[in-house]
Each structure stands twice: as structure tokens, then as C-alpha cells.
Amino acid sequence: MTGWANYLVFIVATGGFYALLALSLNLIWGGAGMVNLGLAGFFALGAYASALLTVNAGAPILAGIAGALVVGAIGGYVVTMSTTRLRGDYLAIVTLGFAETIRLVANNEIWLTRGSDGISGIPGPLKAELGGWFNAAYALGTLAIVALVWFALRRIDLSPYGRALRAVREDEQVAQVAGKRILRFKIEAFAISAAIAALAGALYGHFNSYVAPDIFQPLITIYIFLAVAAGGVGRVSGAVAGAYLVIFFLESTRFAAAAIPGLAPVQHAAIREMLIGLALIVVLRWRPQGILPERIPPAPRPQSQEAT
């Protein structure tokens, strides 16, 4: 394939991983009003879980991905367990710490993770059979998984479960007085969300065939917050749209920054990161509802309309 086609495939796949991360964040941020500032940590957790299962333990790829889902959900449970009774600020602090701790472990448990060298040779599904078409096929597969997760989350969103989650987001106390067991809702939602982030990580690893601690920069969490905020907090489709929007933004700033003459590469990178931070603040300030604002599903009209 030509360079441009390869580039496109790379964009589609990366956007798919980001879309999964954005769907993960949207479930808890838009759904239950919780934040996960350690999204990059759960992303890494899933990537390492699946890589270790397939490379070190020789498990099939599907088992690796399933393992990533389980490990992610457990991680989410551990993180929320200690904070769900407390104000949201505490969860924010704990998730930040979680991501850093994951990075520390990945960097230092060399016997397991090979430290900063990372794990290479992660198998990709049907890689030999597909040959040069592997990347394109994998990108399409990623899109299919994004669609599947999108479908499931939309179902949750429109169900009584999603309604109760939203009540928790709007006012925990009133939700409690309305008889909702808010702890259960918060823990479940966060665990599912963490599992989806881990899934994104696992898919990334099998695509890239290599994972290392430095790949999972905290900055990824900012990208995803920007994606969800720009797409529309609380809107499942918005998360996917926002993820591709962020990819577009990231790639265009790459070219734009490179076009400024007389700057060192580190300065290009600095400008891009500044623009990301700036974009997030601008969206939160001037377009908090995003490009696809949250919608209220209309009440189903009663079938037995009495004639008046």
C-alpha cells in the first residue's frame, strides 16, 4: 500500500482506540457524573494484560482480550471501592494516582513487563494470512468493535438503568431518596467503563505488536477528555465523533506546528500540547454541550389513547 493509504489506516485504527476510550469516559462522566483522570492507566492495564497473556503465557489472542476486560473491571472496582461514598474530588485524585502507579509498575517490574524496553512481538490476529492487508483489516475490525460497544452503551443509555445512572449524576442525594442504590450504580458503571478502556488497550497492543510504559502518557487522558467534551458529554455518538475530531486536531496541529520555521522539535511538541490544553478549556467554557448535545429521549406515547 502507498504511504498515504497506510497513514489513513493508522488514523482509522488510532481513532478507533480513542473512540473506545471516549466511550468509556462518557459512560461514567456523562452517565453517572464521575471522572476518571487515570484513563491512560486503564488503557495501559489492558494493553499489558493482553500482551502478557499472549506473549508470556502463550494464550490465544481472544483469551488475552478477555483477560484485559476482566483485569480492567477489577482495576475499576478497586479504584472506586474506596471512594464511592465520598465526594467526586476524591475519586479524581485516586484515579490520577492509579495511572501513575501503573506506569511505575510497568517501568520497574522488569521480570514481568521488561521495564522501559517494553514488550514486543505481540501477536496480531491472522497476521500471517493477511500479510500486507493486516493493518487495514485490523482497522476495520476495530471499527466493528467500536460499533458493538457503541450499540451496547446506547442500549444502557436508553434503558431504566441509564435513567437511574443519570439521576445519580444529577443529584446523588435525591436519587437516594428516590430509592436508588447509588453505590451499586456507581461501582458497576465505573467497572464497565474501566473494562472498555482496558479493551482499547488490548486492541492497541495487538495492532501495534509493541507496548511500553512511555506509550501511555497521562496526556492521552487529556485527549479523551477533549474528545468527550467536544463530542458532547452524555451523548454516546458524541464520544465517537469527538474521538475522530481529536485525532484530526492532533494530526493537523502536527503539520501546522512543523510548518512554523526556526523551531526545535521539542518546541513543536510543546506548541501542540499547549493547543490541546487550550482546546479543552475553550470547549468547556464556550461549548460545554459539545457538537452533539445530550438529548432527552421522548416519552413513549401511550397506545391506549382515549378518544377525546
Binding site: A152, R155, I156, S159, P160, Y161, G162, R163, A164, R166, A167, E170, D171, Q173, V174, A175, Q176, V177, A178, G179, K180, R181, I182, E188, I192, E294, I296, P298, A299, P300, P302, S304
Partner: protein, 272 residues
Amino acid sequence: MKAISDTVPRPHVPQRSEPDALLAIRDVRRAFYGLDVLRGVDLDVRAGSITGLIGPNGAGKTTLFNVVSGLVPPDAGSIRFAGRELAGASPEAISNAGLVRTFQVARGFPRLSVFQHLMLYGREQPGESLAAALFGSAESRRREAELAERAWQIARLLNLERVIDHPAQALSGGQKKLLEIGRALMAEPQLVLLDEPTAGVNPTLKAEIAHHLRALPARGITVLLIEHDMKFIGALCDPVIVMAEGRVLAQGGFEAVRADARVREAYMGVRA
């Protein structure tokens, strides 16, 4: 009816509960930062009554509601509801036991629609499980349809049909008050605690709210409400309980309470 002379003497001697009391509160105490807000509250709410709770600002009425609904645990005392002890139980357990409260400032879920509000207050929601959400369940669909029908009926009853898909934050003050009553109806509680159901609404709507509230006991819903409008209380509530300084000062018929010298001194004298 208890005569006014029977009200709490000091030092404190807990009252015997009335045989048909749905809610019996005994010697409930609560302090905040060393300040005694509830100093041994005793009161009964008779099943099928519309009981009014009045008293000057700072008497502890809203705190009492917070304690009874489980948002604030009591320091001491007993809260018996339909034969069960509720002191210290969680808000959701109390709500699920059939005791539902509303909030003073029309608190709620600003970005959820009227319909979603009503649906949320339906009891027994098999659809509120992950499995049902993801894979669907016949039971969940059946219950949703039932609740949806009730929600529509209540919306019609309260004239909220037109705004049923509007978010609560877009409603007028009066509509918010009606929605509060709608939530109570939807929950089918045995007892509903209403915190100032007519605060800030015009006289026409006030009459409409009174009309809706008057119909609740016939549906099996007992009402305990906090209110400052004496005309409203006089027309709707029997008995009336007067709180002052963290205690029950008097209870009885509206006229009898109004005639009580201590009540006049603590409350009505100031206002009238």
C-alpha cells in the same frame, strides 16, 4: 385528638404512641457542631391524615425531614414507620419502605425530563439491572409499560402533559411544585413528606395543589407537610403540629393550635 395541654412537659417524658400512628417519632435528637437543632422531638402521624408541620424559621422542621428520610442520622431517638424502626436506615431503604420525601427548592434532576422524573420514582424497577439493560427482559418491558402508563396518567392529572418531554430546569416554579407532587404519586408511598409544597406559587395554583393533596389520602397516601401559609394549612391540614426550638410545642386542630398562647408567642404573634 390530643389536647394542647398534653404536649411535652419538661423534663422530657416520651409520649405513648397513638394506636393508629403510621409514623411515630420519639425523642429524636440531633446536634450540628454542638448546636442542638432537634432536642427530643415526639410526634405521631395518623394514617390517612394530612398533617401540617409549622413553626418559626430555625424550629428544626427541615432537619426533622432530613432525619426521617435518612439523609441525616439522628443522634438518639426512635422513628417507627408502619411498625418498622427506621432510625439510622439508609435513604434508599427508607424510600423503598414507603416513606418518600420531596425537597424545598425543587431539587431534583435538572436535565431529566418530566417523564424521566416520574419514571424514576416508580417502585420495583426490574429494568434497573445491567443484564436487563443490555439483553432486554420481558419483565422489564412489562413494568416499563405499566409505569409509563401511570406516568402519563399522573402527568395528565397534574396538567404536565404538555411539558412531559421538557427538562425539569425548563419548568416554571409552579410546574416544578406539581412535578414534586407527581413524583410522590408515582412512588405510591404510604407516607409522603412535602417540604413547602406551595412556596412561591400564585393563589390559583395554590388552590390546585391543595386540591391534588386533598385527594391523596383516598389513594392510600398519608401526608406530612411543612408550610408557612396559614390559610393553606387551615384549609387542608388536620392535625397541625407546631415546632419551636427543636421540640414539638403543640399539636391539635388548627383553631385550637392557633388559640394556644405559647404558639402565639413563639410563632403566630410574630407573623400576624
